[in-house]
Structures are given as C-alpha cells and as structure tokens.
Amino acid sequence: MTLVTEPPKANFRLGMLIYDTRYRSYTIQVIVLILFLMGVAWLANNTIENLAAKDKDINFGFLWNRAGYDIDQHLIPYTNDDTHFRALLVGLGNTLVVALVGCFFSTILGVIIGVLRLSKNWLVARLMTIYIEIFRNIPLLLWIILVYVVFSETRPAPRDFKIVEGQTSAAHMNFFDTIAVTNRGTNVPAPLLTNPLPTVHLGFLPISLSLIAVIVVIAASIYANILLRRRTKVVQEATGIRPTIWWKSLLILCVPVVALLFAMGLHWEYPVFKGFNFNGGINIAHSFTALTIALTLYYASVIAETVRAGIQAISRGQSEASAALGIRPGRIMSLVILPQALRVIIPPLISQYLSLTKDTSLGIAVSYLDLRGTLGGITLNQTGRELECMTLMMLIYLIISLIISAVMNAYNASVKLKER
C-alpha cells in the first residue's frame, strides 16, 4: 500500500494540452518547433526542386578539380595546377592573416586612443575625439579604397627605381636601400638561412622546422624570464630589496634566439629591380597593406570608444584612492584602472573582433584574394557552383567567428571578477 497519492493518469484528455497551464507552454513550443522545421524543410526542398528543374545538382566534387588560376599572395605554396580546395585554403590563410594583424594593431591603437581621449590635456583629448568621430562615421569600404588609391596613385612605378649608369634614378629605396615602396606593393628583405633545419610535409602543408625552432626558443626565453621575475618578487618580499634584473631579462630574452639564428646562418635577401618588377625579398601587395591599414584605423576608433566606456565605468574613487597612496598617474592607469576596466571592455570587444574578421571580405574592392576572392569569387565563377561556394563560405566564416568567440569568452572568464 502506498501513501503517496499519484495524479490520476487516466484522466488526461486532449483538451488539457490547450486548457491546462501545465501543458500549454509545451504545446505552443512543440507547434512552433514543428512550423520552424517545416519552414526549413520547405526552403531546402524548394532549392533542390528548383535546381533539379534547371538540371543542376548540389555537388562539392569541383573542389578537387584543377583550379587553373593564379593567386599573387599566398602563405602556403600554390600554383595554378593545384585544386580549388587548395585555392580555398590560400584564401582562408589570406583572410586569417588580415584578421589577426588587424585585430592586433587595432587593439593597441584603440587602447591608446581610448585612454588619450580621457586625457586632461585639452588638445590631445579633442584631437582624439576628432579622430574617432571621423573614422567611425565614414564607411569602412571608403577607407579601404582611399588608402589603396593613395598608395597606387602616389608611389612611383617600379621602373622609376631602375638605376642607369651615370644617372640618378627617379625614385629611391628607403631604409638604406632595403625597402622599396612602389605603386604595386612594398618590397622588404626576406630572411634566408644558409643551414636551415629540414622541412616536414604534414599532409599538404609544408612546415619549416627552423621556424618552429625559433618560436620554441622565444617561448622558452619568455617562460624563463617569467620565472626570473617570480623569483625576484620572492626575494623582494623576503628582504625588502628588489634586485636589479633588467640586464638579466635582456640576456635571457635575446641571447638564445640570436645564437640560434646565427647558428642557422641568417642572412637577408634584398629586393632588386629586374625586368618589370622587384625580384627577391618579400613583396607585400598594396591590397593587403591598404586593407590592413583601413581595418586597423577604423576599428581602432570603435575599440577606443569601448575602452573609454570601460574606463569611465570604474568609479573615480579608485583613481583618487590610488593617488592618495602616492601612485603615479601612468601606473594608476596600468595597475588599477585598466585591469578593472577590462571586465567591462572585453564582451563588446569580442563583437568588434568578429566584425573585423567578417569585414576582411571587403578586400574584394581592392582585389585582395581572401576567402571571398578565391572561393566566393574566382572559383565560384569558373565552376558556376554558386550555391555550394556560398554555403561553404558562410560555413567557414561561421566557424572562424565561433572560434574567436570561444577564445575571447575563455579570456573573459579568466579576467572577470572572481566571486567566491
């Protein structure tokens, strides 16, 4: 015999789905879900039917065909004999490098401008306001085209750099004849190694062990430096005297990597004018430079506002208390205000990074062959697979954005106020 009275199950009637508040919300949700799924199914079905009516199908096989076109800027080896898939990877690489460089520089510039805008110096603060208002309120696309046109119309053509015996050339290279900025691109010296470590081929990506070695050594140096600073702090807390360590830090950070590069025989290959263009060195096309500069300047203005909002969210009492303790203004900002402001800054900063990454697709205006230019441009046109290319491209941008979101959210979790 049981003491708990169970609700009478037999009494369930169909009408209760609508009239019983216990079930009503479920009923509504299920109906909405069914309608939504039917809508999606209708769209998918409509697409397939319409494609079939035109004798077309959905097929991603074209990705493995020969691409046949050339891309001037590529981070991984690429020739026109490679597949459309590899062209996609080249485009993806170009997208990511602009996004990374853009996020990095716009953050630095944005933080500086945001802080300066709150400066007590009237002139500095007003200048920053003007900068922010100008850049933030003019469409990014116009900035990209403007920067590109300035480069391509004002810089001399490569052949103006040609040195003829007994004459001075019309244009000169900068920085002791190492860098040439032409109307097509920037030619910088390329690092070469006389006795490099072997290159490993991981599937289709060649990975230079020399580069990995340099990265590992730098990372190890930084870690060693952190250990040193930690030890210094222990000494300071124990004895009250902080040992001088700047030269130790400098040695730890510089000597290993310099020694490694010396051992591998680092030397530079300088760009030299030959034929139509500069040969040797690394050529950075102005499409990349223009896109990066415009993205950086534009997003710096947006990030500056985010930073200002973050700083102003910290109560004045914090800086007044710090000042009362005798901390200098610069250190108040870096030690007291900014660490607290970060909590306010980071969530909106995530969406700025996402926007920046998506806006790299505007590079098409200056012929920058990113993912939009390769997969969504030339591949799409040459194969006529609009639906497949667009779907794939949307999927890739979605994945990139989700990864950026995840990384930034993890960082946010690490700096946010720890509640115990």
């Binding site: 209708w42 039917e49 009516a53 035109k54 001037d72 012929s367 046109n381």
Partner: protein, 338 residues
Amino acid sequence: MKKSVFFGALAATTVLAGSAFAGTLDDVKARGELICGANVGLTGFGAPDATGAYVGFDVDLCKAIAAAVLGDASKVKYVPTTGETRFTALASGEVDVLIRNSTWTFSRDTDLKFDFVAVNYYDGQGFMVKKELGVSSAKELDGATVCIQTGTTTELNLADFFKSNNISYTPVTVGDDSEALRQYDAGACDAYTTDASGLAASRASLANPADHIILPEIISKEPLGPVVRHGDNNWGDIVRWTYYALLEAEEKGITKANIDTVGTSTTDPEVKRLLGLEGDMGAMMGLDKEWAKRAIAASGNYGEIFETNIGTSTPIGLARGLNALWTQGGLQYAPPFR
C-alpha cells in the same frame, strides 16, 4: 492532412517556378520589354553614351531581337552585368538574353546549363602594354604584373600561356574593364589582358591611345556570342535566327536604307522569304511575318552594325578579319533561310 496541403502547395510552387523559365517569349511579350544582359561599360560593344542610353555592337543585337519580338527596337531594358555576375543573372531569370562579350566554352554550355546560340564576334585574347616599356612580344613579359578581369576565360588562358612559355607573372585580379583600365593607366600593372576587341575598345578610351600598343600574340580562341538559358529552345531559336537574319541581310545586300524598297525589286526568293513576302517563317517560332524585316531595320545588317560601332572608321578601328562574311574569307556564315 496538413502535410498533404503543404506538399500540394510545394508542388504548385515548383510548377510555377518551372514554367517561369519555360516560356521566355511569352514573358517578354507579356512584359512588353526585353531584358538584355549588357556590359557595364565597354566602349563600342556595350556602354552608356553621353545621354545615358546604351549603345554598341552587342546592344544593337538586343535592339534587333526586341524589334523582331515586340516590334519596337527601343523596348529593351539593359541590365549591366560584370564578368562575375553575368551568368548568375541569366540563370536566375533576371535577364532574358545575355549579349555581353561572353566566350562560348564547353563547361558553360553543358555544366552551367546555358546555350550559346551563335558567335557574333570571333575573338582571341591579347595583351596591351605601354609603348615606353619597349616590349614587342608577349613572350617578353617575364616577371610582369598583369591586370586581369575576374570570372573570365582570359584568367585561365593567361595562366596557361605563361606556364607553356615557362615565364612568370603577377596577376592583379580586378572586377571589370573600367577598374582594370584605371589600374593599368596608373601603372599598377605592366600589361592588361582581355579579348583583343576589348583591348581595342579600352585603348580607344585612354587619354592618349597612341602611347599604348596591342601585342601581336593572340593566345586563345574567344568565340563571343549571345547566351540564353538551356531548355527554352524556342527562345534560343528566336535569338539565333534574329542574328542570322542580320548576317543574311548583309550577304544579300539588304541594308537599313533599302529595306523598304528591296522587297519589291528583288527576284531572290530567299530575300522574299526573309522579309516575309513569301511563306510564313515567323509563325514557325511564334512570331509574325515581318520579324526579320524589323530586326534588320532596327540598326541595319551585321556589316552596318559592325562598321558603326567598332569598324575601321570608329576610334576603336577593328578590321573585319575573322568576322567578315564567308564569301569574303571570314567565318560569319548564316544557315539557309528555308
């Protein structure tokens, strides 16, 4: 029950969508206007003039089709398309016919589900460079930066040409002719490559055409022609035979000037058939008797259209070459009208 209604509606939508592509002729007639996919701006072939009206070699074919189908050569709406957008515009039904320097290739004909109904200009890809570079052959372009329109066959030919000659180049990929020309003029590229006819047209629009030369090498075959969607054969026939009517008119000496009188004076039965004085060929493809007469009257015969827009008397100055009639050593040849 609900589901069957849903699928019923779905089937109805599909049928409607299907029929929208089947009867282009009916659509054009119902609309009272032909929608023609044109170039964004290529002087001589298809570009707006000072008043904003589209003129050119390709545009005149649009006018001829409108005259044949609707009886009025001015009832054409031109939709400017770039190399990238043109085929999507045609496939989606945004335009009825695409007459925009488009090269007939295997994959466009088969995989993209289009029909190239004729070749109105036999072309080939060439290079234009500044005279001061001192280049006289495309094979001397090793290491050069080349401006190229994206989404074109020329993009692929270019890669093949440099590869087969074992020389290198840097591509600058741009969206359309005008942007390519701006970059070329600013010196952002050493050479500009596109169809030789396009080069001649672009050269004519530069500030000082004499400073630029078109290199002698023609590196590809570029048969350019009007394109329609695959599957609507009647519409394809109309576009094809309107074009052939213009060719036949040139062969038979029918011009814009004598079209009203030639019918009465001629004894040639083919001319009579073409002008609708004998038989009823128009009815076989859903048009009236005088379709071809109106098409020819719109801008003249093929030769007249060629000479007014791109011929030797114009700044573009193209010779007939391969595009002369077959009777004069060219490739332009209309099948018999019977």
